[in-house]
């Protein structure tokens, strides 16, 4: 009989993130499909009572908590110790957790400590013939595999955005406190802060409806034989401001900076989408001045509707990678788009 544990960490305000509710949904689905399985929840944070109360109506029979100021920091040593302790107390055989940066850092190591295995970036879980299986992508979203494991505990990291969020209601949950003594060795690392661009300069917006991708074409010589970087910068930033889109980039464009060439200053490798970049999830994607080669477009795997503006009618987007390819000058198109958005209000 499986004991399914959902592991979650609280946010700085003590709440649970949407990704935690998505993992909860996936685990609850497993529990429902697996007759006789147990369903428990483990929470880590400074104080977890509010988080537990917020999901008290879910079918879990027990709540475990590791609390204290030491557990507010997303730090490997303390998070791993806390997760290990909860898994042991809960006697978990299947551990479902959101693949946040905090858990992704820790869970494979915890699986190793407990003699189990970890599967990450899981986009689907199912039960068939009495066996749990997980779906995940291989070779950077180029192919999807379904696999199962016999080892326990089995840690399953659910990719944020891949599941519906659990809508179970609030109530009063009883949290069993799990004491976790920490050695000095666990506190050699201190998280001292977060570096984020100023709010108006933040171009990566995971919750945006639209992904706007810029390619190296923005920095190339245009019809007049000149580059138009300042104009490109203004067009792109204006569009981001008006549309509230999230900004992505091809590798070739962000690499130009490292090679000493003129670049768009607001782009970094954090914006990079594709083989060696991010694979964001947005309902729509608009690509400009980008050729749509395979190493870039694998990063578009989870983009719903796709459109591209490019001067080359034979580019990668034309080969089944976009729904619509506009063969046009992106400078002219984006200038008009900005004008229209300004006239009608933001998107």
């Amino acid at each position: 009989m499986e004991t399914i544990l959902v592991l979650a960490h609280t946010e700085t305000d003590g709440s649970l993130a949407k990704s935690a509710r998505e993992a909860l949904h996936a685990a609850a689905t497993l529990h429902k499909s697996f007759t006789g399985s147990k369903f428990v929840i483990g929470l880590i944070g400074e104080n977890v009572q509010a988080a537990a109360n917020s999901i008290a109506a879910c079918p879990a029979t027990k709540y475990f908590g590791v609390t204290g100021a030491e557990f507010t920091q997303p730090r490997y040593a303390t998070d791993a110790t806390a997760a290990e302790a909860i898994c042991k107390v809960a006697q978990a055989t299947v551990v479902v957790a959101p693949a946040t940066s905090r858990w992704a850092r820790v869970l494979p190591g915890v699986a190793q400590r407990l003699g189990g295995r970890a599967d990450t970036h899981v986009t689907g879980v199912a039960v068939a013939d009495g066996k749990i299986s997980v779906s995940r992508w291989y070779y950077r979203q180029r192919m999807e595999g379904v696999s199962t494991r016999t080892q326990r505990p089995w840690f399953i990291g659910i990719d944020p955005g891949s599941q519906a969020a659990c809508e179970c209601g609030a109530g009063a949950a009883t949290v069993e406190n799990v004491a976790v003594p920490l050695s000095d060795a666990c506190q050699r690392t201190t998280v001292v802060g977060v570096r984020a661009p100023a709010a108006d300069a933040q171009t990566i917006r995971p919750d945006a409806q639209l992904l706007f991708v810029t390619g190296a074409g923005w920095t190339k010589k245009q019809a007049d034989g000149q580059t138009h970087l300042p104009e490109a910068e203004k067009l792109i930033l204006d569009f981001l401001k008006k549309s509230r889109a999230s900004l992505g980039s091809s590798k070739s464009l962000v690499d130009l900076g490292g090679e000493g060439q003129a670049v768009l200053p607001f782009l970094s490798h954090m914006n990079q989408v594709g083989q060696t970049g991010a694979t964001p999830r947005h309902a729509k994607g608009l690509s400009t001045c980008c050729h749509g080669e395979e190493p870039h477009t694998v990063g578009w795997r989870f983009i719903g509707e796709r459109r591209a503006v490019n001067l080359d009618p034979n580019c990668g987007w034309a080969r089944g990678k976009a729904d619509v390819l506009y063969v046009a000058d992106a400078f002219k198109v984006m200038a008009k788009i900005n004008e229209l958005l300004a006239a009608t209000g933001t998107a």
């Binding site: 997303p74 791993a80 690392t189």
Partner: protein
């Protein structure tokens, strides 16, 4: 305080990203069609880790870089002909599969054993580098397991920057959600760092570096220990390419103003 480090980079090979990949079923599990024929490159994020390691070693005299690599010997040799010209390192080769369908735990066990067996390894000076994810399995799990097996509990993933202060304190920037970086300070080695892109461009080929490296690369390849990954307990129900191929509508004859109007309507829909 001495800040010379022993930097061990874990990194393997992956198919060239421009290649078309197709999964096939084999008696031992899924694999890539014509896998041994596909041109290979050093895993991109592991490559960044290697370049960052070499850069750090250059700045801190007395430091040394090893590259521990698990892959088919013949393919490793091919890739090393290029990689060895980039930065100075000593290769520790393991002859085994580099497939994306192998188990991260088994790969990590082989890598950790190889690291532990490096002669003269001093754990108090040890930094274990690698890519935070590979371009094959993409699990983001191997480095953590390597760290656990080596008893290292200061671990960082998605690292874009490492600064070593004069007192040996490590300041690390890790990628977190929403385009932000988490800043951590670590008391010093040992530590595991799974690198994202970092800040360095790919070094240009330097034949002199290549000549020096190849003196150790070839013997390392010759004595590469055969490493079998059994995939025990892991079974695949199937691996398939996504079926979705869009029927692209190519719009060639519209004016920019009309295209803009259409895109705005689509955005707002």
């Amino acid at each position: 305080m001495s800040t010379a480090y022993q930097i061990v980079v874990c990194g393997s090979i992956v198919p060239d990203p421009l290649q078309t990949l197709e999964p096939v079923a084999t008696p031992t599990g899924p694999a890539l069609k014509n896998e041994m024929m596909l041109p290979a490159v050093l895993d991109p994020w592991a490559g960044h880790a290697l370049f960052e390691a070499a850069n750090l070693a250059k700045k801190l005299p007395g430091s040394k870089v090893w590259l521990v690599s698990l892959g088919p010997k013949a393919k490793l040799q091919q890739v090393m002909m290029t990689v060895a010209q980039k930065v100075p390192f000593e290769l520790v080769a393991l002859d085994g599969p580099a497939s994306g369908f192998t188990d991260a735990t088994e790969t990590a066990a082989a890598l950790a054993d190889a690291i532990a067996a490096i002669p003269g390894l001093n754990k108090s000076r040890l930094l274990v580098f690698g890519g935070w994810e590979s371009a094959s399995r993409g699990a983001g799990a191997t480095m953590q397991i390597v760290g656990e097996r080596l008893g290292i509990t200061d671990q960082f993933q998605g690292v874009d920057q490492l600064t070593v202060n004069a007192d040996g304190l490590l300041e690390i920037l890790e990628r977190i959600e929403g385009g932000k970086h988490q800043i951590s300070k670590c008391a010093g080695a040992p530590a595991v760092l799974g690198w994202a892109t970092g800040n360095l461009p790919e070094p240009k080929n330097n034949p002199q570096v290549g000549m020096v490296n190849m003196r150790t690369v070839m013997p390392a390849l010759q004595k590469a220990r055969p490493t079998k990954l059994t995939g025990e307990g892991l079974s695949f129900a199937g691996v398939a390419l996504p079926k979705q191929l869009r029927e692209t509508q190519i719009v060639k004859d519209k004016l920019p103003d009309d295209i803009a109007q259409e895109i705005v309507e689509w955005i707002k829909k």
